[in-house]
C-alpha cells in the first residue's frame, strides 16, 4: 500500500511539470477551438443536454476544422467569469455561454478578449464581439397548448414555472391562448416555484395542481420530476427542453426539443470562414430550432392534426399565437384584434393573459 501511495504521489508530482502549459499551448495546431459554458450537467436531459447536442452537431459537421470543449455546472454568478476567461485563454475563438445568467459575465470577459467572439444565449446585451441568440420556445408551447386544450377533460390545465421572467411568461401565455382556441373555457393554474431545479418542490407542486383538478400539467422547470408524478397518477404532461419520454413513457405526450445544432454549426462555420459578425438571432420552428418530439400514441388523430396544423402554420408564417385580440388577467385588451405582438414586446413581456390563474 505504501509503495502504491508513494508511486502515485511521484506520478502526480511528475505530471505537475507538464501541467502549467494547460491553456497556453495551442494544441492540435490548425483546428479552431470553440468553447461552451453550460448551466447544468450535460446529462440533465433538459436544457444543458440540448445545448450539448448542439455542440456535438458542430463536431459532426466541422470535426476536421474545429475542436470543441465545454464546462458543465457553471453557476450564474461571478464564478462564471474565470471559467469563461479560461476558455478564452485556452485559445477558443468562439465561446457560447448557454444561459441568461451569464450575461454580464460574458460581456466582462469579452471586453478583455476583443479577438474572441462570444455568443450569449437568451440575453439582450450585444457588443462588437458578443452576439445573442434565443429560441422561440413559445411556438412549441402553442402546440402543447393546442394538444392540452383539446385533450383535457376538466378544462383546467396546470403550469409549473420557475420565475416570472419573459421566457416563462411567454410560454404560459402561448400555452393558455392555444388551449383556449380549442376550449374557450380552458383555464391555466400557474405555480411559480422560485427555482429552476428543486425536484421535491416540483413534485409537490405538480401534485397540488393535480389535486386542484388539473388533468394535464406542463412544466417550465428543469427536472423530469413532474413527469414522473404524472406517470404515477396516470395523467399527461410534456417534456421540457428535450424528449423526456424515458422518464414517463405513458404520461409524456410530446416535448419541446431545443435544437441548437443548425445555429451552432452556422456560427462555427462563420468563424472558420472569418465572416462572423455580432447579431441577434431569435429562431423558431421555421428555422428548426424548436422541434416537437414524436407524439405519444395516446394523442387522438384529430388532435395530432390540430397540432400539426399549428406547426405547419409557424413554418410557413401563417400562424402566430400572439395575434390579437389578447386580454390580460384583468380583462384589459393588450393587443387589438388583428395586431401581432412585435419581437420587442415579446422579449419584455411581464403580464399574463386572461385565463391564467395565478397569485403573481
Amino acid at each position: 500500500m505504501t509503495t502504491l501511495n508513494r508511486r502515485s504521489l511521484m506520478k502526480a508530482v511528475g505530471a505537475a511539470a507538464t501541467l502549467s502549459l494547460v491553456g497556453t499551448t495551442a494544441h492540435a495546431a490548425d483546428k479552431v477551438k470553440i468553447g461552451f459554458i453550460f448551466l447544468g450537467p450535460i446529462g440533465d436531459y433538459g436544457w444543458t443536454w440540448a445545448h450539448n447536442k448542439g455542440r456535438e452537431a458542430i463536431d459532426a459537421a466541422l470535426g476536421d476544422k474545429v475542436e470543441t470543449i465545454y464546462v458543465e455546472n457553471v453557476a450564474e454568478d461571478a464564478s462564471a467569469i474565470p471559467l469563461i476567461r479560461d476558455l478564452a485563454q485556452q485559445g477558443c475563438k468562439l465561446i457560447f455561454t448557454c444561459s441568461y445568467g451569464y450575461m454580464d459575465q460574458t460581456l466582462a470577459v469579452a471586453a478583455e478578449f476583443p479577438d474572441v467572439k462570444f455568443e450569449h444565449c437568451t440575453g439582450f446585451k450585444r457588443t462588437d464581439n458578443v452576439a445573442t441568440y434565443n429560441s422561440k420556445f413559445h411556438e412549441g408551447r402553442a402546440v402543447l397548448g393546442t394538444i392540452a386544450g383539446k385533450m383535457s377533460k376538466s378544462g383546467s390545465l396546470g403550469y409549473l414555472g420557475s420565475y416570472k421572467v419573459p421566457e416563462v411568461v411567454l410560454g404560459v401565455n402561448a400555452f393558455t391562448l392555444a388551449a383556449q382556441k380549442q376550449n374557450p373555457a380552458a383555464t391555466v393554474k400557474l405555480v411559480l416555484i422560485d427555482s429552476w431545479f428543486d425536484p421535491p418542490k416540483e413534485a409537490a407542486a405538480t401534485e397540488t395542481l393535480i389535486n386542484l383538478g388539473c388533468d394535464i400539467v406542463t412544466t417550465h422547470t428543469d427536472s423530469p420530476g413532474p413527469l414522473q408524478i404524472l406517470e404515477q397518477k396516470g395523467l399527461y404532461g410534456f417534456g421540457q427542453g428535450a424528449d423526456m419520454s424515458a422518464f414517463a413513457p405513458t404520461a409524456h405526450l410530446t416535448a419541446i426539443e431545443d435544437i441548437w445544432g443548425p445555429y451552432y454549426v452556422q456560427r462555427a462555420q462563420a468563424i472558420v470562414d472569418g465572416t462572423w459578425t455580432s447579431t441577434d438571432t431569435w429562431d423558431g420552428m421555421k428555422e428548426g430550432t424548436v422541434v416537437i418530439a414524436p407524439y405519444n400514441a395516446a394523442i387522438p388523430a384529430d388532435v395530432v392534426a390540430l397540432a400539426d396544423a399549428v406547426q405547419a402554420g409557424y413554418k410557413d408564417g401563417s400562424y402566430d399565437i400572439f395575434t390579437g385580440p389578447i386580454f390580460d388577467q384583468d380583462g384589459v385588451e393588450k393587443v387589438k384584434a388583428g395586431e401581432i405582438m412585435t419581437l420587442e414586446q415579446l422579449a419584455t413581456i411581464d403580464w399574463f393573459v386572461k385565463g391564467v390563474e395565478s397569485a403573481s
Partner: protein, 363 residues
C-alpha cells in the same frame, strides 16, 4: 503493541504547523487513489485542483479574488472559535452585509461617489454584525445555543435575499430576472492592477490578518478572548465579562462576514442575484480551522481553499468532474485537520505493553 496517547505538558508548536500541511498533502494523495479507483484520471484531477492554479500565472488573479472573502470571514470566525463561540451562520451574515451595502447604494442613487461607496462598505459591516447580533442577544439573554440559531438564520437570510432581489430591488431594466441593477462604475471598488479583476478587497484581505494578529497577541481584548476560551472559570475570576465576550465574538464574526459580502458585491459581482450565497461563509469555517484560528494561518489557508475552488473549475474542463467535487477535497482537508488536532495536545507512543496513567485511544 498498543498505541498510546500521552498528554503533552505544552501543546506542540511543531504539530500545530505541520499538521495543516500534512492534511493538504494527505488529501492530495488520497484524492489520486480514490479518483483512480472510480475511473477518473486521479493524478490529472489532483494536479489540476491543487497545482494548476499555483503554477499557471493567469490563474493567480482568480485565486486572489476567491481568497479575499474566505480570509476576511475566517478572521472573524477564528476570534469566536477561540472564545468557544460557534458562529456557523457566517454565510447569512455575508449575505446580509451585501444586502445592506446594496440598500445604501440604491438609496443613494446612481450619482453616488467614493463617499457613498465607503458608506456601503460600512453598511455591510453593520449588516453582518446586525444579523449576528440576533444569536448574540439570544445567547446572552436566554442562553440559546448560538450554533443552531446562527445556522437557522442563514437559511432565513437566503429568503430575505430572494424576496429583495425578486421584488422591491429587482432591476427595472432586467426583464424581470431576479437580480439587482448592476452597480454604476462609481460605486464599484477600484481595481488594483489594470487588466485584472483584483480589486481593493483583495488588498484589505491581505492587510487585515496582520491587524488581527496584533489585536489578538498584543491587546487586552485578545487576551480576554483567549482566556475565556481556554479557561472560562479563570476568566470569571479575572473579572472578564463572559456576556461581553459573547457579544464581541459574534459581532466581530458577523461584521467581518458582512464586510466580505459588501466587498464581494462592490468589488467582484456588482449585482446581487439568487446565486450570491456561494458558500464562502461555510468554507471560511474550514479556512479558520485549517489556519489553526491564527490570523496569519487564516491568510495562508484562505489561499489554499481558493486554490481548490479555482482548481476545481480547471478540473471541470479537463477531467469533467462535477463542480461539487472540489467540496470533497475541502471536506477531506477539514477531516484531516480535525483528526490531527489531537496530535497537538497528545503525543503518540507505540508501547509494547499496557502502562498506567495515560489516556487510551482506540485507534
Amino acid at each position: 503493541m498498543r498505541i498510546k496517547l500521552e498528554k503533552r505538558s505544552v501543546p506542540s508548536t511543531f504539530m500545530l504547523i505541520a499538521t495543516p500541511i500534512a492534511s493538504v498533502l494527505l488529501t492530495m494523495l488520497i484524492g489520486v487513489i480514490v479518483f483512480d479507483a472510480i475511473g477518473i484520471d486521479g493524478q490529472r484531477a489532483v494536479v489540476d485542483i491543487f497545482l494548476t492554479p499555483i503554477l499557471a500565472s493567469y490563474k493567480w488573479q482568480d485565486v486572489a479574488v476567491k481568497a479575499a472573502p474566505l480570509i476576511i470571514i475566517a478572521l472573524g470566525l477564528s476570534i469566536g472559535n477561540r472564545a468557544q463561540i460557534w458562529n456557523i451562520g457566517a454565510e447569512g451574515q455575508y449575505v446580509l452585509g451585501a444586502l445592506f451595502a446594496a440598500g445604501v447604494g440604491i438609496a443613494a442613487g446612481p450619482t453616488g461617489g467614493p463617499f457613498t461607496l465607503i458608506l456601503m462598505i460600512l453598511a455591510g459591516i453593520v449588516g453582518g454584525a446586525a444579523w449576528a447580533a440576533i444569536p448574540a442577544f439570544l445567547k446572552t439573554r436566554w442562553d440559546v445555543n448560538e450554533i443552531l440559531t446562527s445556522l437557522m438564520l442563514t437559511y432565513v437570510s437566503f429568503q430575505v435575499l430572494g424576496f429583495l432581489v425578486g421584488g422591491p430591488w429587482k432591476d427595472p431594466n432586467g426583464r424581470n430576472f431576479p437580480a439587482t441593477a448592476p452597480l454604476p462604475e462609481s460605486l464599484t471598488l477600484p481595481i488594483l492592477f489594470q487588466g485584472t479583476t483584483v480589486h481593493l478587497g483583495v488588498a484589505i484581505a491581505l492587510i487585515l490578518p496582520f491587524v488581527f494578529w496584533v489585536l489578538m497577541s498584543k491587546s487586552v481584548f485578545g487576551f480576554q478572548i483567549r482566556v475565556v476560551g481556554s479557561a472560562p472559570h479563570a476568566a470569571r475570576h479575572g473579572g472578564f465579562d463572559a456576556k461581553q465576550t459573547i457579544w464581541m465574538a459574534l459581532l466581530i464574526g458577523g461584521g467581518m462576514a458582512g464586510l466580505a459580502g459588501a466587498l464581494e458585491f462592490t468589488g467582484s459581482l456588482k449585482a446581487i442575484n439568487l446565486g450570491f450565497p456561494s458558500g464562502y461563509g461555510f468554507s471560511a469555517i474550514i479556512v479558520a480551522f485549517l489556519g489553526r484560528l491564527n490570523p496569519i494561518g487564516c491568510l495562508i489557508a484562505g489561499f489554499v481553499l481558493a486554490v481548490t475552488y479555482v482548481g476545481g473549475q480547471v478540473a471541470q474542463t479537463t477531467v469533467h468532474i462535477p463542480n461539487s467535487t472540489a467540496g470533497i477535497f475541502q471536506a477531506m482537508m477539514l477531516f484531516f485537520i480535525l483528526a490531527s488536532d489531537i496530535l497537538i495536545r497528545y503525543r503518540v507512543r507505540f508501547i509494547p505493553k499496557k502502562t498506567a496513567n495515560s489516556t487510551e485511544a482506540h485507534i
